[in-house]
């Protein structure tokens, strides 16, 4: 069971991700944008972070860059949940320090498949 931070500016997307993760026994904290997520990540250590890319205040790519700077998150799985299937976006994510990515539309099974890759 892992403690996971779910970041998305869309409330329905946050609810769906949280719901799916909780149903699979994980505990979830959510945040509406990168800035809020970074604050929360500084307050407690999460076992994994799943973030949207396109968000106000701080986008997902910047969030991942910032998280990787924190000693606590150097090896933490950081997943991008994105609508962009273009390879260059994935590349950008990887370069920022993302562990992996998931392409929307959101699908609970795809999400859990991705989560299983990085946490127990």
């Amino acid at each position: 069971m892992a403690n996971i931070l779910a970041v998305d500016d869309s409330a329905s997307m946050r609810q769906m991700v949280s719901h799916t993760l909780k149903q699979n026994g994980h505990s979830v904290v959510d945040a509406p944008d990168g800035k809020a997520a970074l604050d929360k990540a500084k307050q407690q250590k999460f076992d994994a972070v799943i973030t949207d890319v396109n968000m106000p205040n701080m986008d997902g790519i910047t969030l991942i860059k910032e998280l990787r700077k924190l000693p606590n998150y150097r090896f933490t799985p950081l997943l991008l949940l994105t609508t962009e299937s273009a390879p260059e976006k994935k590349q950008e994510g990887k370069a920022a320090g993302a562990t992996g990515w998931l392409v929307k539309p959101f699908d609970p099974e795809k999400l859990m498949g991705a989560v299983r890759k990085v946490v127990r």
């Binding site: 396109n54 609508t83 993302a98 992996g100 990515w101």
Partner: protein, 689 residues
């Protein structure tokens, strides 16, 4: 998508409508030829979110349209296309179209397919017009599946694969763990792993943050190569990976495999499409259900307050409990204190619960900028819309019902109030007219004002019209207020020609009726040449009011505290009898009619009014004295509708249940005035005959 995701549809609809409002506002603030990248980014993001959600919920029409919209927005954002007025208008039309598509999905109705098709074509045309290579932008999220499918070499030879996996030293830094990858591989089939630790340095030199091991994995079974690639998808750039068939003997199968591979794929591509059409009705009906239970967005601060308050209530309750367990008379004072505290807690809790229903008026305002924008174009007028007091809160039900009247008044002001730019210039006014909305608290009311600096209403013309319609007796003097009030009379309009924007006079009576139905009131004031001001007074809440209790006969009644000006004992010298039946009372340099409630409610006894009690109440700036038998306490009462529990009764706004369980009727002052007038007319006629 699993079924249980449908529970989030409602949230998706709500945020999508908000997103569309944001897009609309952003577009309205955009000027042709001056692309604001920040704003375009916000608009793009809103569209993007809607697309993401729509994909999840299988709302294909929405996904398709947002995709086209995104393509255009992306070009504008990247500066590849110009921001033109036509472009902005097309984007606005797309927002409208998306809104109606989403509304149809939410309500389980059919959207107009022509509208969506039309917008899609226009969006495509605009994108293509800028760039001949429009086809390349036409791909959608489905491309992803396509592109990865081409990388598929087909399935393994049946015997399995030998996988060489040598991670780069920095692998851990990406958050990936080789052990997890091996575990995932083992889910595909039986594996045999050998680890090469030859590059492991001596312990002192070991950097635990670096990955220096490599693995060779034999995976047995009939596994597709693509499945293995997917396991390593996230690390393909962080390792060197080799995937080779375990036993190269099966040459036949390797060539056969690619041919068979596309087949199941084609089948699987066809199936979801079939599923979609079957799932759709089910989804729509669930969306329809969700919309019937309307929801409200509540500021978390309000909920925190409630929790605090409940906490205090629990403390008070336990204190009273303790007191009650071993109560003696000497603790009476403590008990009274406790009860007073309970009352305070209850009142606060009640106020805060009511506050949950309160939403800022910006909800009602939000539709106006777009409307004004469109009307400016349609009417060829220039108007500066100023919205003030956006934070002012109003009961949600009131808010929903006030939107239409507000829209109507704004249309009217745009159409009839504010003059065309040329005319304004002639009159020495700035070419751009001002339409100012204010919202604020005043007493127990919310006041919403609509001010325009247009031509105003011609008092004489309105009066003539009223005379023509036989509403005014010849020779009678009317105050400005009374004259302007005729604008709310059905069928009266000072505009001889109807326009398609606001019609002629039709609707103002409906506006007034709707506002009245909310327990509110609307007044109008106008100065020819200077402008017009409409003021709407609305009650803070519909269901609770502070009431003054009084007795007439042996019945208890309630009158809203807010409408009471004064309660007094009548002095004989100030009571005047007019010709006919009506009695007047001299009050504050004025004469006000007296209504004998005993008479009106058919209670026995009339007699002299001297030294009797009178409650002076105000309604619509008219004052009237109510003769009552006895004044009782003041308290908050919960209004129960007579209409829904019994039937509407003129003169009563509703009923309430008092602390002792009896029912008391709540007076409706406007209705009472009507009743009294009707009665007087009957009596006067009787006297004349």
């Amino acid at each position: 998508m699993s079924i249980d995701m449908n529970q989030f549809l409602q949230t998706f609809f709500e945020e999508s409508f908000e997103g569309l409002d944001d897009m609309e506002n952003g577009l309205l603030n955009m000027t042709a030829g001056e692309p604001d990248v920040e704003q375009l980014n916000d608009i793009f993001r809103a569209a993007h979110s809607i697309k993401g959600g729509a994909g999840t919920f299988g709302l294909n029409s929405v996904t398709d349209l947002t995709h086209k919209l995104e393509t255009l927005l992306d070009r504008l954002r990247e500066g590849e296309s110009e921001v033109t007025t036509d472009g902005i208008n097309l984007l606005l039309a797309s927002v409208d179209c998306l809104r109606s598509l989403l509304q149809a999905e939410r309500d389980g109705t059919e959207a107009d397919p022509q509208q969506a098709a039309d917008i899609t074509t226009r969006l495509a045309a605009m994108v293509d017009g800028d760039d001949d290579d429009g086809s390349s932008s036409d791909g959608n999220a489905g491309d992803d599946a396509g592109s990865s499918a081409t990388a598929d070499d087909g399935s393994g030879p049946g015997g399995g694969w030998r996988i060489g996996f040598t991670p780069e030293p920095h692998l851990f830094m990406t958050g990936n763990d080789p052990l997890r990858l091996l575990e995932e591989l083992s889910e595909l089939g039986e594996i045999q792993v050998s680890c090469d630790s030859s590059s492991l340095p001596a312990l002192p030199d070991l950097d635990p943050e670096e990955c220096v091991l490599s693995w060779t994995i034999d995976l047995y079974g009939d596994v597709e190569r693509q499945a293995i690639e997917e396991v390593f998808e996230w690390v393909e750039d962080d390792c060197s990976l080799t995937i080779e068939p375990l036993e190269p003997a099966g040459g036949d199968t390797t060539t056969a495999a690619p041919e068979t591979a596309p087949e199941p794929e084609a089948a699987s591509a066809g199936e979801p499409a079939g599923d979609d059409t079957q799932q759709k009705p089910a989804q729509q009906s669930s969306g329809g259900n969700a919309s019937t239970s309307s929801s409200i967005r509540v500021d978390t601060g309000k909920i925190d307050n409630l929790i605090d308050m409940v906490g205090e209530l629990v403390i008070t309750q336990s204190m009273l409990n303790e007191l009650g367990e071993n109560f003696t008379m000497d603790k009476l004072e403590k008990l009274q204190d406790g009860l007073a505290q309970l009352e305070r807690n209850t009142r606060e809790l009640q106020e805060n619960v009511m506050r949950i229903r309160m939403v800022p008026i910006s909800f009602a305002y939000s539709r106006l900028p777009r409307m004004v924008h469109d009307l400016m174009r349609q009417l060829g007028k220039k108007v500066d819309l100023q919205l003030n007091g956006e934070e002012t809160e109003l009961d949600k039900t009131v808010m929903e019902k006030i939107i239409d009247p507000l829209v109507h008044l704004v249309r009217n002001a745009m159409d009839h109030g504010i003059e065309p730019p040329e005319k304004r210039a002639e009159l020495g006014k700035p070419e751009t007219g001002t339409l100012e909305m204010n919202a604020y608290h005043k007493g127990g009311y919310i006041v919403i004002e609509i001010n325009d600096d247009g031509g105003g209403i011609s008092r004489d013309r309105l009066l003539n019209k009223a005379r023509e319609a036989g509403l005014v007796e010849n020779g009678s003097e009317l105050s400005d207020e009374q004259v302007f009030d005729f604008i709310f009379h059905p069928g009266l309009s000072t505009h001889d020609e109807a326009t398609d924007v606001s019609g002629r006079g039709v609707g103002m009576d409906v506006v007034k009726r709707n506002i009245k139905a909310l327990g509110g009131n609307i007044t109008v004031n106008s100065t020819p040449g200077k402008g017009t001001r409409f003021a709407i007074h609305l009650p803070l809440t519909l269901s609770i009011l502070d009431g003054q209790l009084f007795r007439v006969g042996d019945q208890v009644y309630v009158v809203p505290l807010i409408s009471i000006m004064e309660s007094l004992q009548m002095q004989g010298g100030k009571i005047k009898r007019m010709a006919g039946t009506s009695e007047l009372y001299e009050w504050r340099d004025d004469y006000i009619p007296i209504i004998r409630l005993r008479e009106l409610f058919n209670e026995a006894g009339g007699g002299d009014l001297e030294n009797e009690l009178m409650v002076v109440v105000e309604e619509d700036d008219r004052y009237v004295g109510l003769h009552v038998d006895e004044l009782l306490g003041q308290q908050q009462v919960v209004i129960k509708s007579l209409k829904s529990n019994y039937r509407p009764v003129t003169g009563f706004a509703g009923a309430t249940i008092l602390g002792n369980g009896t029912v008391a009727l709540i007076l409706d002052i406007a209705g009472l005035l009507e009743l009294a007038q009707a009665r007087d007319e009957v009596l006067t006629k009787g006297a004349n005959n």
